[in-house]
Amino acid sequence: MPRVWKFGDQINTDDILPGKYAPFMVGEDRFHLYAFAHLRPEFAKEVRPGDILVFGRNAGLGSSREYAPEALKRLGIRAIIAKSYARIFFRNLVNLGIVPFESEEVVDALEDGDQVELDLETGVLTRGEERFLLRPPPPFLLEALKEGSLLDYYKKHGRFPGE
């Protein structure tokens, strides 16, 4: 069952992937192995595909480096729940096809190490007998996510959603 990896407020993209481990520094095939290298060195080894990342406020602030969320995608992360997002990070998640959920209550309720199930389309999250409902992403993003990512959407349709 997917587990929750919970982090605090103001987790920046240097935390998610330090600049010195950028793909063009360490190689396209290796950079994801350094996700959270400073903050939680065990993360990249122990994370399993489908696990859920949980952040507090202003998740992903700082550098525009898309390879930070890309490292998470490589490791199998498909959804993030945060209290709020920094804007470039939010765009990058959508572009890569990682679903960015937003909820103060659910973030407060979840603990690091929790075993959960999350339905990405309905936003239904279950922990044992408990059920939480996450608001699904807005239509523009949902349309893009249906094709996988905004990149996939543009490739298929030759335009942006709603254009």
């Binding site: 010195k20 063009f24 520094m25 360490v26 525009s64 709020s84 942006f160």
Partner: protein, 416 residues
Amino acid sequence: MGQTLAEKILSHKVGRPVRAGELVVVEVDQVMVVDSIAGSFFKRLEYLNATPRYPERVSIVIDHVAPAANLEVAKAQKEIREWGKRLGIRVFDVGRGVCHQVLIEEGLAQPGWIVVGSDSHSTTYGAVGAFGTGMGATDIALAAASGRTWLRVPESVKVVFRGRLPKGVTAKDAALEMVRLLTAEGATYMAVEIHLLDGAEGLSRGERMTLANLTVEAGAKAGLVVPSGEILEMYRVPDWFYPDPDAHYVREVEIDLSALTPRVSVPFYVDNVHEVAQVKGKRVDQVFIGTCTNGRIEDLRAAAEVLKGRKVAPWVRLLVIPASSQVLEEAARDGTLLTLLEAGATIGTPGCGPCMGRHMGVLAPGEVCVSTSNRNFRGRMGAPDAEIYLASPRVAAASAVAGYLTTPEELEETHA
């Protein structure tokens, strides 16, 4: 109701009046790509089976690790030169400088333009009235391929700087004070609209770049400085290019420049801003003067003024990295460079330098750096426990001489 400057610019781009909150797709005037993500940029173009729609609107800058620090980087940069030639894209190679400084110098950001860059500090272009915003590799590739991008028309926060800076206080101190007041998330998804009044309109283009640059540290999508002063002489500013007096702002903040004192941002958060007087005395191992925030000629001159006739403390490494080749040339011509060298500075290749901890001054465990850059996040410049204090070039220079965090004024008193 009237429009903010962000609403005005985006309305003119879309061809109809737009309001904060709307999603719009706009034509992009300039797409800026940096070396560190160029590989991802090319891969995404390949995936889309596309080439840039308007190659002349795309610039690639080799600045984040320049010159190449290892084999991987060297290969990536070789690829940039090959792709640049093949696609007819402008490439600014090793030594030309930091992307934002280079684009401004080259006239590739103009009032009313939409400039998207694969670097978060693309807000810098707002100094000349361009709607500059940072994005990731996918957005940048899509912008290059389509010539367009999607944006949510941002709400705006109005920041008014009033009066003149006292001697010894700089635009960096003003910018840090702005980030303190707004906080690291106070302008998320918004434009910061900067008004310079009652003497503040005298701020130079370079000083305005410092202000616009740091708006992203408050989460801003764009940092737009309302054109005034020398900008009106340097650029063709359209008549419509001003916010309406009855525009709506989410929040208004006033900063009295004449009452400002030197500021420092204390690790590990940029908005953790204090007066230098409150944290002075911290022992320093390295001082870094440079970057898109403070690597311009006025910054090097300010540092040289403090360093003239003095020596850097024996245990301090002073790294000066001009923001561009033009800055370096100017510093060589007017004697600034010699003053810096005589004080004991090491001069690096124009570019980003050690700002993001990749080369040219990576910090060892436990080390302390006073830096004129823009981020003091944990591990940003090297070891996770190394500390970065963000300050102005004057404070950085004084700290290099003293060997501990201090101001030029304190330095005078100690040595008097």
